[in-house]
């Protein structure tokens, strides 16, 4: 277990976010815009796949393993489904899974972080020991173990990912709360007779709100990566279309060993990278804006 404190009693610093150090406002604005535009396009694909995709991705529309051509821009997969349509339809599962996981995780993490940081004492020790336990466990092996027992489905992927991803935001929120707790306005609120619940839900929450927002974006990008790994291992919904599942079938059919990697494997991974990157850029931009507005 990783300890909460160093031997000399000072709290350890968890360096999970990029401390960029570039304060150029123009750069921050550009990264935010680029990320935002890409994400908007991805959301369009996720909400209206049927309008954009040329074919029904669940139907066999051609001979299997066709090369890219005029009719099928990225060719067809091993059972004759259009890869381009699969790629577009897959956006929904990958993006929404990531967003749902990160929303659940950040909600849990924020509650745990606020309670832990404000209550202190044994509540704090207990909650933070639990957080540390989750952070130290081998992530993918345990997820494999849990998914095998629960069975492969998208719901279970969301569940097991959320079990893991709340720990990091809980730590970050707690450390922010620890510094907020000594602020005069919190003390003033307490002196005026506000009860703990009120302080936590009003004053502390408004203090960690922006941090939680950034975490939602950053954890969404992390969980999209993790979801693709799990689906790639065959632990996701085998009939559902996600980018990870597409890569799973590319590997299972051995197609990635042939020339098909260029139009099957390459675009699929690029979509994952693009999504993760766009969320990362938005998260970075938000983080810097908040840091600038504070200072």
């Amino acid at each position: 277990m990783t300890a909460l404190t160093q031997a000399d009693g000072t709290p350890r610093i968890v360096l999970t976010t990029l401390n960029a150090g570039f304060s150029s406002r123009r750069l921050i604005r550009i990264t935010g815009w680029v990320g935002g535009c890409v994400l908007t396009m991805l959301l369009a694909l996720a909400f209206f796949p049927n309008l954009i995709a040329p074919y029904d991705s669940t139907k066999r529309v051609a001979l299997p393993l066709q090369k890219p051509g005029k009719e099928f821009l990225l060719g067809t997969n091993d059972i004759g489904q259009d890869l381009m349509s699969e790629l577009i339809t897959g956006t929904r599962a990958s993006l929404f899974t990531g967003l749902i996981v990160s929303f659940i995780s950040v909600v849990i993490g924020t509650v745990v972080g606020i309670v832990s940081g404000y209550a202190g004492g044994w509540v704090d020790s207990l909650l933070m020991s639990l957080t540390d336990l989750i952070l130290v466990l081998p992530f993918i092996p345990l997820v494999i173990l849990i998914s095998v027992y629960l069975g492969p489905s998208q719901r279970n992927v969301i569940l097991v990912l959320a079990i893991f991803f709340w720990a990091a935001p809980a730590r970050l929120v707690r450390s922010r709360v620890l510094s907020l707790r000594t602020e005069t306005y919190i003390e003033a609120a307490r002196a005026l007779g506000a009860n703990s619940f009120h302080i936590m839900t009003n004053h502390l929450w408004s203090g960690v709100k922006s941090l939680a927002l950034v975490q939602i974006v950053l954890i969404a990008s992390a969980s999209i990566l993790a979801e693709s790994s799990l689906s790639f291992l065959g632990l996701g919904d085998p009939s559902g279309k996600s980018w990870g599942t597409m890569l799973y079938f590319a590997r299972a059919s051995g197609a990635f060993m042939s020339a098909a990697w260029k139009w099957w494997v390459l675009p699929t991974g690029l979509m994952i990278t693009l999504t993760v990157l766009s969320l990362g850029l938005i998260g970075y931009s938000l983080e810097q804006r908040i840091a600038n507005s504070v200072s």
Binding site: N19, L145, M257
Partner: protein, 326 residues
């Protein structure tokens, strides 16, 4: 010092205890009869008497508390049960032992190389903070972090193994195995692609942590003092700053170890590399539950041991840790 060590030992003990308890409880918490998991699809055809016999054999007819004690007892004797897949009766411990060395090989090499390269680049970037080099490196690693490592592996295999034919496409060695020096070269050729992919996967973490730690330190008074008295820049960085950055870097890296080490699972699966990760992947297909649990336990123990080693290294890296706790 001893007091601190004792406290840490208790913490590690609790983590270990919780990990083995998760291992015990998982199959029993899942809805449904654990025996159905063991017998699989054959369960309905076995008949009442056979099922009861199996239940007794696995100790599933006893109360949960007693089952737990039996489980702990077996664990203490190093008995993790029998793997289903190897019907010849291979024990889980045996299978783990065969596979673990391969995981250790590629993970050890990748962790070392990524820590060395990542730290070096992190220091370089931090000393040129805000420059175009810093910006370039940072965006490069940001991009690298967004790439799924298993996808990278799926791209390297067709290019380097199939089209160019330079390296083998999978497995840990050629069959039949070669002798002596040829064998060493063969193993290295097979390990190269997985190690490259894992190193690239670990690099951003090492870089980001080192860069952030150096930032904090480069702004301290003692660095300014060192510069003011005319210490050469490279000396300030390597002797004064780097040494103090090492401790937070190691701590932060260890915190991420659970995620980093677990990632090897997916990479081994792509390369069909004979490590614990690939073993777990194969065990999923054959629903080999004892093997899956054994694999998870081994990963947990490895991470705990690495954490303990780091803990023991602290006083060597930072004498204050020792002084503060005596």
């Amino acid at each position: 010092m001893t007091k601190n060590l004792a406290r840490r030992a208790i913490e590690f003990g609790i983590t270990f205890f919780l990990a083995i308890s998760i291992n015990f409880l998982l199959p029993r918490l899942v809805p449904g009869d654990p025996l159905a998991l063991i017998a699989g699809n054959a369960a309905p055809q076995l008949g009442r008497a056979r099922i009861d016999a199996l239940r007794a054999q696995y100790g599933l007819d006893k109360p949960l508390g007693e089952q737990y004690l039996i489980y702990l007892g077996n664990l203490a004797r190093g008995d993790l049960g029998q793997s289903y897949r190897y019907s010849g009766g291979k024990s889980v411990v045996e299978v783990l032992g065969e596979n673990f060395r391969w995981t250790l090989l590629i993970v050890g090499l990748s962790l070392t190389s990524s820590l060395l390269i990542g730290s070096a680049l992190g220091i370089w970037s931090a000393t040129k903070r805000g420059s175009s080099l810093d910006l370039g490196l940072l965006s490069g690693f940001y991009f690298l972090r967004a790439i799924p490592p298993f996808w990278l592996a799926m791209l390297l295999i067709p290019v380097f193994a199939i089209q160019l034919g330079w390296l083998p496409a999978g497995d840990s060695y050629s069959i039949p195995r070669l002798e002596g020096w040829e064998n060493v070269k063969d193993v290295a050729r097979h390990a190269l692609l997985p190690v490259v992919v894992l190193t690239l996967a670990y690099l951003p973490t090492a870089f980001v942590i080192m860069r952030a730690a150096m930032f904090g330190i480069m702004e301290t008074d003692y660095i300014r003092t060192a510069r003011a008295k005319g210490v050469p820049n490279i000396w300030v960085v390597l002797k004064h700053a780097f040494r103090n950055a090492l401790l937070p870097v190691l701590t932060a890296f260890m915190l991420d170890l659970g995620q980093l080490l677990g990632g090897v699972t997916v990479i081994e699966a792509v390369f069909n590399y004979r490590g614990i990760g690939n073993m777990m992947f194969e065990a999923v297909k054959s629903r080999d539950y004892p093997l899956l649990q054994g694999g998870f336990l081994l990963f947990t123990i490895t991470i705990l041991i690495l954490n303990i080693i780091t803990e023991l290294l602290y006083p060597l890296l930072d004498p204050r840790v020792q002084r503060a706790t005596i």
